[in-house]
């Protein structure tokens, strides 16, 4: 018996002592590989310490070794539920350094695709959040709708989860023919699907009991912790970067910034549900604004030429060759560009030393910052509610660990 390592020795523990348990990293409701170290008193959480890094792949290091246009595909893999948002934050930071003027059509398509992506991201959140709490059905309805959006993204870019559709200076290619009709088909049916989700969850007493008053955070604390996106608006702060620092022409769209005063899981749920309606409104407006026109900026040293021009024009061929082999030079300087991702403020800090590769790229992931507030949110709650709280933060570990 004496040869047993100390951790296997049976110790007489009175029942009222605190217990430390490890939740994750394989726990299904941690949405990836998050580990929580929970100190419990009975079923009550005394202290929750997130342990992250299981998915760290050194993306920020990798950016420094890739040319600017090669970095776009890395961003797809960060927040894999909102890849178009990541693309946009990254290319806009580079465009800011290059001082590129993006044509109107490309901007409208960017807004259109980003809002579709936001709906898709919120649908995954809704399905998994409800699944964590115990409502299985919602998951299937959500993924049915999300599938339609992924089909649209696939039609435009060729990729479902990793589109890399936005390029520095514009878009990869124009929308395929018939795309507007397919988007219209989707948005016509979406509001009734949203009503379906409300029927399944919003009036459900079990769901309300599991979410109302759980994981409360006040507006001051939310700002102090750096919460952004629906988590901040769930605490009553009407801050949306699409409104505060408009980009890609968001100032021309008519939409509301939904806020809820509750500050709990239910409030964050309602904010996201209403945000899907607003995104739907923006998609309708973007469709109406879609006019024929160029989709790439007039900057031959940065933007790849059309295939046809490359075959017929000598200078286009030279530019194509130079961009692909050497990359393009970006003026030295540093920018921080923030957009409203589906989960909050998605910021890209980009520093250039004048060469074809960035000297530093840092991504301010909203999930990273939102998760850091978990110790405060979970303190004093039950273990089962920790699952609801994590779900309401809508984290994606790919972005947290990068």
């Amino acid at each position: 018996m004496s040869s047993l390592p100390p951790q296997f020795e049976i110790v007489d523990r009175p029942l009222d002592t605190q217990m430390t348990i490890s939740m994750g990293p394989q726990h299904p409701s941690t949405h990836g590989v998050l580990r929580l170290e929970l100190v419990l008193d009975g079923e009550m959480v005394v202290k929750a310490t997130p342990d992250i890094g299981y998915l760290h792949t050194g993306m920020e290091k990798l950016f420094e070794y890739k040319k600017y246009q090669q970095g776009i595909v890395i961003t797809d893999r960060m927040d894999y539920l909102n890849p178009l948002g990541n693309n946009l934050a990254y290319v806009m930071a580079a465009e800011k350094l290059l001082a590129l003027e993006i044509p109107e059509r490309a901007q409208v398509i960017r807004v259109l695709m980003c809002e579709l992506q936001r709906i898709a991201s919120h649908l995954v959140w809704l399905g998994t959040h409800a699944l964590d709490i115990g409502a299985m059905t919602v998951f299937f309805y959500c993924f049915r709708e999300r599938e339609k959006i992924l089909n649209l993204i696939e039609a435009a870019s060729g990729g479902r989860l990793t589109p890399s559709y936005f390029r520095i200076g514009g878009l990869m290619m124009d929308l395929p023919s018939g795309f507007e009709r397919r988007v219209k088909q989707f948005i016509d049916g979406f509001l009734s699907s949203l009503a379906e989700f409300h029927t399944l969850l919003s009036g459900n007493r079990i769901f309300q009991n599991r979410t109302k008053g759980i994981g409360y955070i006040s507006a001051e604390d939310a700002i102090d912790w750096g919460l952004s996106g629906p988590c901040l608006r769930g605490s009553g702060v009407a801050l949306d970067i699409r409104r505060a620092n408009p980009y890609t022409g968001y100032e021309n769209y008519d939409f509301e910034v939904p806020t809820e005063e509750g500050g709990d899981v239910w409030a964050r749920y309602m904010v996201r549900m209403r945000e899907m309606e607003e995104s739907h409104k923006i998609v309708v407006q973007a469709l109406a604004r879609l006019q024929p026109g160029p989709i790439k900026a007039d900057a031959p040293h940065v933007v790849l030429p059309d295939r046809e021009a490359m075959k017929t024009h000598m200078d286009a061929l030279i530019h194509h060759f130079l961009i692909v082999t050497e990359g393009f030079r970006v003026p030295a300087g540093e920018v921080y560009h923030a957009i409203e991702g589906s989960k909050g403020e998605l910021g890209v800090y980009m520093k250039s030393d004048g060469g074809p590769k960035p000297s530093r790229v840092h991504v301010r992931g909203p999930s990273f910052v939102n998760l850091s507030a978990l110790p405060q949110l979970a303190e004093g709650e039950m273990v089962a509610d920790v699952v609801a709280i994590i779900g309401s933060l809508d984290i994606v570990l790919g972005e947290i660990d990068r």
Partner: protein
């Protein structure tokens, strides 16, 4: 019903008098110089963004001042990140603080420069609690030490990792294969 919506939108417009694209940052620069004259000529503006290089002894004092200063109100720390300029450069490291105001919607970058042999900078995690994880990340990947931080441990890489991965002299593939066992 429609009236209510219109009123709400009107109120929102009033509450947001300065969408940041419309604010040419020059007023911000003058406001900053006016509010804190000791900065002198270190307030720079490029790509529509304002940067202030701050000596590290004063970073806590300046952050505390900016958080509540009337007219500036940088109450939100968007991001904190470090950068390595390369082993030959002096000063080698920089720490960037990206501040944002939830009421005025303007942004500011504070920059602290550090030499290779002395990578200490005071923590701001007691001014904004969100700085806690950002500082841990910067410590983990660049080896910048935040004095007074309540919990300065590695956050992304394993605790027994050797070196700091985002330094320019750290090879892309590491020194040797890392084994979890």
């Amino acid at each position: 019903m429609s009236n209510g919506v219109e009123n709400k939108q009107g109120a929102e417009e009033q509450a947001e008098p300065t969408p940041s694209n419309a604010v040419t940052p020059s007023p911000l620069v003058t406001a900053l110089q006016h509010a804190y004259p000791e900065w002198g000529g270190e307030v720079t503006e490029a790509f529509g963004e304002v940067t202030v290089v701050v000596p590290r002894e004063k970073i806590v004092e300046i952050c505390r001042f900016l958080k509540t200063a009337p007219g500036l109100e940088f109450n939100f720390l968007s991001d904190l990140c470090g950068a390595d300029r390369g082993p030959e450069e002096e000063p080698r490291f920089e720490v960037n603080y990206h501040l944002f105001s939830t009421t005025r919607h303007h942004r500011l970058r504070l920059k602290v420069l550090l030499n290779d042999n002395d990578t200490h900078v005071p923590t701001v995690s007691f001014i904004w609690r969100t700085a806690n994880w950002h500082e841990r990340e910067t410590f983990d990947l660049l080896g910048v030490i935040f004095d007074g931080h309540p919990d300065l441990r590695r956050i992304l890489l394993p605790d027994d990792w050797q070196g700091h991965a985002l330094r320019k002299d750290f090879p892309l593939r590491g020194y040797e294969p890392y084994s979890l066992t």
